[in-house]
Homo-oligomer: 197 residues x 4
DNA sequence: CATGAATGAGGGTTCATTCAT
DNA sequence: AATGAATGAACCCTCATTCAT
């Protein structure tokens, strides 16, 4: 990788990092390009060398953070043989990730720039599809094996995500006073003992 | 009630209704007073007879919708004797309300106007406290009677709300193609059979 | 005078009084009809029964206050035989009036509503003309009698008014901490001993 | 000085110049940023690169004009030995300056933006203090030497400023038909022959 | 005569984006 | 590649004035 290319990557990453923090704190509309670039230490015009517009920045944050998360889950979870252990680990990673990157979750719940509403909704569908497909085979296998109740797969997945997000949300509005990861067992318990026969 | 008072109430309500729809569609920042008033059919200045400013409108929507919901739950749920039946009914009402007022849910997840962030977070805490206290006694009693596992009360409540919101969220991003209320049984099942011994 | 006519006069006077105070405190533009009428205790629309518009109010205040002042000077000063005594008394009355009605002076120096700029300047010309004609004969007589230096009459008059206003202005920006009237002697001294041979 | 810096200074100066004229003609409230920038030939937003807000513009005009005036008086007057000659020159410069910058005087008498009333009054106090201190030593010395009557210093200063402003005011409302500077002798005469023993 | 709800033109200010350097 | 001065559309909010009651 050339020196230039490295610098390029770094600058882009710095923008993303700073922007993520600011947007999570103040909201999309109240975060200005001016403030972002000033905090990064670059000129305002430079921003537009790395992003098409403000909207592009927003989706880039979400996209790249999401990919990070998915990658991490894949890496650490995939090889675990036992399904319920794999599920437990998945929950743990998910909570851990949000404990470290709680800005990301806040941004996910933000006002979305109007023009691109469609693409935002598309993003969410992708999100759930990936989660789904990631877990899908496992769930289906367990259903076949009669280890899990015969519940529609989608309902299972959205309930799981729901429990997770509900707990993350609560953790944030309580100012992150307790450890989020420590909730992994109780969440796992509520979720699995409900679906396990 | 006088004629004038009726008209007054109506106009205010119309603004709230229109604004709720627009904000849920386009987000708080992208929704303009101009557009709201034009859609209601009143002058721009008239808006400020009913609301102090744009921020006031935002919180009025949330506050009043929330009170409606709570009232409805209280009215229809309170008298049911059996706890699990009561819980079931509560889930049903909650889903039903959001099926009819799905804009409200979208707004709840919006970007909050920055200056009043504190009061927004206070709202969420109130929200959960009310839900909590509303269910609390019931849950505690059931725990004493050994009908429910000994799980921290807060964890139970946020998991329930989590499941509900996860399902509402999914329903919305799927363009509300199916009936939300019909999910009540599966949600109830996943949730209760997890916590019930 | 009929009862109605009395009420009419009173209401108009109350508006003038309240408006004078508010405008002198906050300036013309920042004083709203709403605030004036609320403080008077009448409806906003009622204002327009007594004044054509906001501009009319402004000039009415100045005009009527000015007429009061002129009347007072005439009444108390005219009969005094000796010219310098008359001048002295005139200065005293002028200071006394502004000490009691310092709002008036503040208003005189206010921003004038643009559209009527011409009429505002006309007012000032009238003001000086009246002062002038009021003193003119006396001054001219004294010049003839060689009691006063041969200085252009206008220069004399504007210098006198200048000294008076300079002192009033200073008194106001010093928050009226001392008695304005007490300056009458030193003003008279500086002015007369300059012009008297 | 760099090219950029020059342009910067110029643009700022142009805004000040145009604004001074407009405000003196129409008053502060009636003068809009839109009009100012259009007349200068720049975009509306550009204004805010040079001034924090409209209020800042107002005080900048006063402050900078005032400093110009004081500088000029200092430069041209300070070295004159004889007190009365120095006073005469001071009066001349003061009149000359206002003849050339008559807009400034008009602005000084404007409605002050409400919020900053305190700082406006502070400005006036500063103004008189500077004038005072500028002349003070001279006056005091003359009093000691018995060349001037024993009159309170403040009274002397405000009377002098009063005469000057009275004459400027009159000159303006007479549409500046005559030369203001030519009044210097008569003003000097009225003032000094009053205070000189 | 009296009212005050309703209006909408108009003003100050912000900020994403451009473009000459 | 990097910059930041310049722009102007867009937005929130105010308030003098009107008019139906």
């Amino acid at each position: 990788m050339t020196d230039w290319s490295v610098k390029m990557k770094n600058k882009r990453k710095m923008i993303l990092k700073v922007a993520e923090r600011l947007i999570s704190q103040k909201g999309y509309s109240k975060t200005t390009i001016e403030e972002i670039t000033k905090k990064v230490g670059i000129g305002k015009g430079t921003f537009y060398l790395y992003f098409k517009d403000k909207n592009d920045l927003f989706f880039s944050i979400i996209k790249e953070e999401f990919e990070n998360l998915m990658l991490k889950i894949k890496e650490e979870v995939e090889e675990i043989e036992d399904f319920f252990e794999r599920l437990k680990k998945g929950i743990e990673i998910y909570l851990e990730y949000h404990e470290k990157n709680y800005n990301f979750f806040k941004i996910l719940l933000q006002e979305k720039p109007f023009i691109k509403r469609k693409s935002f909704e598309k993003f969410w569908r992708d999100f759930f599809k990936k989660w789904g497909s990631f877990m899908k085979d496992g769930f289906e296998e367990q259903i076949k094996k009669n280890k899990i109740k015969k519940i529609d797969l989608e309902d299972i997945i959205y309930s799981l995500i729901g429990i997770l997000h509900g707990n993350i949300h609560n953790w944030i509005i309580n100012n992150r006073k307790y450890s989020l990861v420590e909730k992994k067992d109780v969440i796992f318990k509520i979720f699995t003992e409900g679906i396990r026969r």
